[in-house]
């Protein structure tokens, strides 16, 4: 076990391809290109496409909100960074389930 900096990392192809789908969905405001909401539910009870489509749209907005914090962290002015951070009474984040990593929704 050691702390080691990774170098020459490139964003994976899957992320680039799938991100394009996300951008298209956010620009059009619908799921063109990928039939999320309209997909026929199969008899298989494991398939949760309809509910997931709603979650995914929320996820896009959440990402945008999160990004602003990332950028603030990187700003050269630490005071600006501090001021821009808000406490939980001022955010509209999803309630987190304690004790786990990010779950499907």
């Amino acid at each position: 076990m050691k702390i080691s900096k990774s170098k020459d990392y490139k964003k994976p192809l899957y992320a680039l391809g799938a991100a394009a789908v996300l951008v298209a969905a956010s620009l059009t405001g619908c799921h063109s290109g990928v039939e999320l909401e309209g997909e026929t539910q199969t008899a298989d009870s494991d398939d949760r496409d309809t509910s997931t489509s709603i979650v995914e749209l929320e996820g896009v907005a959440e990402t945008a909100a999160s990004e602003s914090i990332v950028e603030n962290e990187e700003t050269a002015d630490p005071t600006a960074s501090e001021e821009s951070k808000v406490d939980c009474s001022e955010t509209e984040d999803e309630l987190e389930l304690e004790g786990g990593v990010a779950l499907a929704d």
């Binding site: 899957y14 799938a18 991100a19 939980c88 004790g99």
Partner: protein, 353 residues
């Protein structure tokens, strides 16, 4: 705003990796109602996550909180969300009916086939049989419930098998975290074994993908989703910014692992939040200096103050364990992502976007 309510410090289990000090300290009704008021005090959402100790030892408080908050929600128009993390041993139909009515999302702490290695009742009796039955009951009422597994070094050989077992039981949302803190001792050999287990879990996820079914395994699928969305996984932390824990006395802290440390006290439910203190502590969180210049800086949990504090004693100092685990996880998850994307880009986008 979102709060995590530590309804009690007591627990009926004695898990080997648990870092919480158990004591018979329960939240009073006064604190409970003040906490509910605080959750509704700002914003257009009020969220409560019932936590402990074991929250179901205080079912009465949960019922009272649900009644109170649902009424407040009706009166104010503020949306109310609730969740609970429980060891499951005290779940019953009456509670599940009430929880379902409140649309509560329940996370069941269940280590799968490794359950009896670390998760035992007080006195040492195994818990797996009881919790398996309760898991079935939970899924009957709430089929979308999540399983939350914690992997200690001695449970690593059961990682992949546990994911399969939990999925067979009916969980489609499984979070697996590795145990941190002074009660566990990870070695290089454990991490090598963990890599094999992660890869085997990816093989299972591929099987599920090819069958056209859906399964979310916390760390692996989350890494893929976060990469697509350019989302930094440690942002959910930010010490008190996202969600504030309330201890049984009503004191507020930035994260559950900081409870009891007066240096991180952010106020209490009676006097309110010390907003300057929140800003000061959130502002203190920074990317560990050892991570500067690392290409994976935005893909790993290097700035999770909770994990860092448990491993190094300093919220801004990452541990060799965390760094090694995160690099491994990203590598394994990306390999799975590439493979699934090549197989069927459309289906991949549907699942992960």
């Amino acid at each position: 705003m979102n709060l995590t309510l530590h309804l009690t410090d007591n627990c009926n289990m004695d898990c080997g990796y648990c870092i919480r000090e158990k004591c018979p300290k329960d939240m009073s009704e006064d604190v409970l109602y003040r906490a509910c008021d605080l959750a509704f005090s700002k914003g257009d959402r009020a969220g409560l996550c019932f936590f402990g100790g074991e929250p179901l030892l205080k079912k009465d408080l949960i019922y009272k909180a649900l009644d109170y908050c649902e009424e407040k929600s009706r009166d104010t128009g503020i949306r109310f969300d609730c969740k609970m993390t429980t060891n499951g041993s005290l779940l019953d139909e009456e509670f599940l009916k009430r929880a379902a009515k409140a649309r509560m999302k329940i996370g069941l702490s269940f280590d799968g086939t490794a359950q009896d290695i670390c998760r035992v009742f007080k006195g040492g009796a195994p818990t797996s049989e009881v919790v398996e039955e309760k898991a079935k009951l939970l899924l009957k009422y709430m089929p979308d419930s999540a399983a939350l597994a914690t992997i200690a070094p001695q449970a690593v050989p059961y990682y992949s098998e546990s994911v399969r077992y939990l999925h067979r039981l009916g969980f489609k949302d499984i979070s697996v975290v590795i145990a941190y803190g002074e009660k566990v001792n990870w070695t290089d050999k454990d991490l090598e074994a963990l890599r094999v287990q992660l890869q085997d879990t990816c093989s299972y996820l591929k099987e599920i993908f090819l069958e056209g079914r859906r399964l979310h395994v916390g760390p692996i699928c989350s890494k893929i989703k976060e990469c697509i969305r350019d989302k930094n996984p440690s942002e959910r932390c930010h010490l008190g910014v996202r969600q504030m824990p309330v201890d049984p006395k009503g004191d507020l802290y930035p994260c559950t692992s900081f409870i009891g440390d007066e240096r991180y006290l952010l106020g209490n439910v009676f006097d309110g939040i010390d907003r300057e203190r929140v800003k000061e502590i959130a502002g203190r969180s920074s990317i560990p200096s050892t991570c500067t210049g690392c290409d994976l800086i935005k893909r790993c949990t290097n700035s999770c103050g909770c994990a860092n504090r448990m491993n190094t004693g300093d919220e801004n100092k990452v541990s060799p364990l965390q760094c090694t685990y995160e690099r491994m996880l990203i590598e394994v998850s990306d390999a799975l992502g590439e493979e699934l994307y090549r197989i069927d880009p459309q289906r991949f986008a549907k699942l992960f976007c």
